[in-house]
Symmetry: D3
Subunit: 234 residues, 6 copies
């Protein structure tokens, strides 16, 4: 299943710093006083009892890759793993969207994901994608801004319009009209870029709701990731 495997590799090489940071963070947690708030994060990924299915070879390989490169398998994948057809479809859709070719950088896609998730107050997605923004930008403050209020970030006009479109589409999709698309075009976005902005914003409106509906808990490793400023990656 090429479509899935290729993005998987992209994810794989994506997070050298996650790989390094995760273990000590893990050790600290277990060694110190258990956090009340995070209690249960590791043992219970969602509020639903769904028996894990046997991983297909493709998915087993993908999970292994995640372990090696991220230090963990993102909980959203484990949550889908009760049904291989669902897991494969989700991974294929998600990886094409976030890792595939696009006029938007990966960082920009993660910025959209995070700003959308903030509107929906989604704990899982804010945690995971806030970490991605910090990691890809090398700018921890940018991650916080996407979580807290993207309007407070000092963005150029183009990125600001991109997020305004994504957030309007999240909050009042029925109000999006030609004038909104025209503004994006004036700032240099192609019609394909507009599709991609919409598709990413739309996708996280989906995952925000799936994770909220199931009380999905993010892997605790995300919290400490990429908290120091560093070089820009994307």
């Amino acid at each position: 299943m090429t479509a899935v495997r290729k993005p998987a590799r992209t994810v794989a090489k994506n997070r050298p710093d996650a790989t390094k940071r995760a273990p000590p963070a893990g050790r600290n947690r277990r060694g110190g006083k258990a956090s009340r708030a995070a209690a249960g994060d590791d043992t219970k990924i969602t509020a639903l009892k769904l028996r894990p299915a046997k991983l297909t070879p493709d998915m087993a390989a993908y999970f292994k890759l995640c372990e090696e490169k991220l230090g963990f398998v993102p909980n959203v994948l484990k949550a889908f793993a009760f049904d291989m057809a669902k897991l494969e479809a989700f991974v294929a859709y998600r990886n094409d969207l976030m890792q595939g070719e696009s006029g938007l950088t990966k960082l920009e896609r993660e910025m959209i994901a995070t700003a959308v998730s903030a509107q929906n107050q989604c704990y899982y997605c804010l945690t995971a994608h806030g970490a991605s923004v910090r990691y890809l930008s090398g700018d921890p403050v940018l991650g916080e801004l996407m979580v807290m209020n993207y309007r407070a970030a000092r963005l150029d006009q183009r990125q600001r319009a991109m997020l305004d479109f994504a957030v309007k589409l999240t909050v009042e999709p029925w109000m999006v009209e030609e004038a909104d698309r025209a503004r994006l075009r004036r700032l240099g976005f192609s019609d394909r870029d507009i599709w991609d902005i919409a598709a990413v914003a739309a996708f996280y409106n989906m995952t925000n709701r799936l994770t909220s509906a199931t009380d999905m808990r993010p892997n605790s490793q995300y919290h400490a990731q990429a908290r120091s400023p560093r070089a820009h990656i994307d």
Copy 2:
């Protein structure tokens, strides 16, 4: 790609009545006064100019099946057809969700899709899924109720709770908590059913936004479909 082909066949046998009704409706339209409101439906599927890619054999077969069985290829598929990876991922995800095994009937999944789309005032999805509810239930009024205000429908407690959950998840996902899941369980939904309710509601929160962002126009054939009461199908 089995995952895609199988659901496609399910769709195929799904709409005998659509197949029969569509052509006369088409003739009427062209023969009579062109509708101002619908003008452009046939020639421009979205507001974005995206060049169609060459269909993969799988997708070509799927489109052909749609033509044969529905009398048309749903515009959302044509809209995705600028990129085969995106189209295949969308079809796989969508067909597993809406046609795959579930404790929810297909009609129930379409009811969720429509009630969610009503919250988001999504013209495309209300048109397509309102038609599906009419078709699968054999009850044209039920389709209208899902579009207009699902709370006015005379549903049993179980279906009402299912839609309340889906709509709350749509409107204020951050407020969904254990009490909401507990209510569904008390009414007989399994944890897997809860996943499915959430997954369908979440998915249409995605497509509502993708179609609104791109001003996607529904195939005009939907409007006249299944407007007379008939036997229940699902």
Copy 3:
């Protein structure tokens, strides 16, 4: 009571097609599987038990006219018929507004009625006025658009502004100011036209609430009315 009788006649000649379509629809319903969603529509018009009063001669004549020309007496009239003063006052106000002289066409007034009712998710009014838009325009799609999201309709600037004003007045009446009226004037609306737009929007904000408060059920005949494209009437 001239004011009432005259509009009554206008209604009367208004719906030849309703007259013809209603009986078969009625037969189908009774002959086939009873629709669960619509069950009770015919036997219980509202959730309130209010004993019908004896119709005054004026009102008896008006109901008879409705039967002859529409094939039924609209349920809202039956709902008011527990008190003749209330019924007469409602009919007089409503008919002057919707059938009397105005710079707005009857179709435009029905478009406003439907778009307003969509904001208030009013099942009764969406059903009845959506049917009127389909009938008067000869364009079934236009009726659907008013119900689903008027912003998706391809309207000229003038009609769009008319609906924007009506919807803003519905959703946040406290925000309507001189700039809103000025925009209507620039697009050719007279001050009298502005009154009429406001009066129609305001009236359906009233009826939407009266029907929602009482769970008023629309006559089932509306659903099938004017579902095929035909010549424009208004």
Copy 4:
């Protein structure tokens, strides 16, 4: 036109104190510094230029009665006076609703009118109906509470539920269901009372929007009316 004349008489005897207070208030205004905020109240009733029509004898008599008993003709009547059919229909509907027989006292109907108008932030209706609440209750504070936040008033359970229903119907009519009606019935309201609560709430949702749309200005005499505590009237 009996229906109109009778309520008119009811209004007439209704406001001895208004009659007495209005003239000095008027004198003060003219004698002192012109109020900036109120400027134009007397010379321009709405933002629309609509030439007054010749009053019908019924309406002329009704206006005369208002002058004699209230000391002024309410501006909403003057605003409708460009068209006698509209004026008569409005007066008939309004007077039946607010002055006719009902299980609700006149004060209770005015409380609903004011609490509804507060949700819609309607300057005209809050001014006129706040004055009515003060006058009919003899309790100036009750008028202020209806304007500012009816939830802060120390009402009995029955009146509180009445206002809760009216306000829910105003703010989210699509959410009103059998449970809401059942609560009213449990507190002693008959089905007819429920109709009246709904009808009054619905009507002021209409007038709030008509006056907001036209920037209608209340007669300045209302402001000083019934500002001292006195005996209860209704």
Copy 5:
């Protein structure tokens, strides 16, 4: 404590008319039928049972000054008097803000206080600050407009923009950006004026919530204050 004493003096000379009006109003209340709505205003200031602390000499002097000049101690001060540190801090902050040097007049600050309180439907603050607007402006109608809908007041562009900023900051603070500040600057506000507009709007967002949380009751004397037009004071 100079900071507190000086504003106290400013308050003191501020309300000659309050001083005169309050006693008769008090007498009327006690002599006549007890107002149901206002019942308990005098005996129970908030819903919380908090034992009054011994007033510090500064606060005792300040309360005495209020009695002499206003005819009463505002209930918000009594509510804070369970803890002298809290009372002194509140008085110091409040008096500096509302009585201290500013490019905004005292009337303008009270207009902001009232318009903000209207958004939050705060009974206590609308009562107290609506009275202040009436008193300081000598225009009873202006007070009502700030309570009911400030947009209906005929304000100059500068004061309108000031209130628009304060209300936006109240309703959607996260949307306030440089463009909002730029608009104020264009209309002549200095950066210090912008701070003051924001600080007053922000402060009443605090007090609105503290009084709502505790069901704080305004002194009944406010209601009758400054109901007749008179000279402008501020």
Copy 6:
């Protein structure tokens, strides 16, 4: 000025870890690639140009204490420093509220501050108080939960009710009533505790708006503070 000095000392001993972390974080920032998002944080604290006044001896001592103990003077203090009366009043009010005696722990007060700020999407306050929650709890995840969606935190019933009250008071203060207070009492909160919950929630509704209105930027040191789990402090 004892009231100010004492809380200042409390702050002082409060943040040993901040003191240690801040300097390296500062060095990293300056040594590495400048963060685009954070650019200007250090040079421009707000969007308003307000000339700093000369610090009074009390305030100079307080700023010095902050430097020594926190490693920096919180920007909100520098923002107020254009006027010593305002700065002193703010510090007195704030320190009494957050550092003074209370039935709520300091951590609980910071949890309220953060959950309130999340509703208002306030970048400054989320940054500063999210850091405080992390620091005082020793649980970095708890800080993130308060920022992202406090409902996802695994809190006991008492703390959950405390935050529910604070957030309701933030979002719809006009709806807070006796039932809300009664729920807090049932869970063990005293009337004084209820005052404190309300006062903290109200205060951050003030500061959220003051910082949003002025685009106040948090000290960049907050972002990296207390990101590792450690012992509980409060």
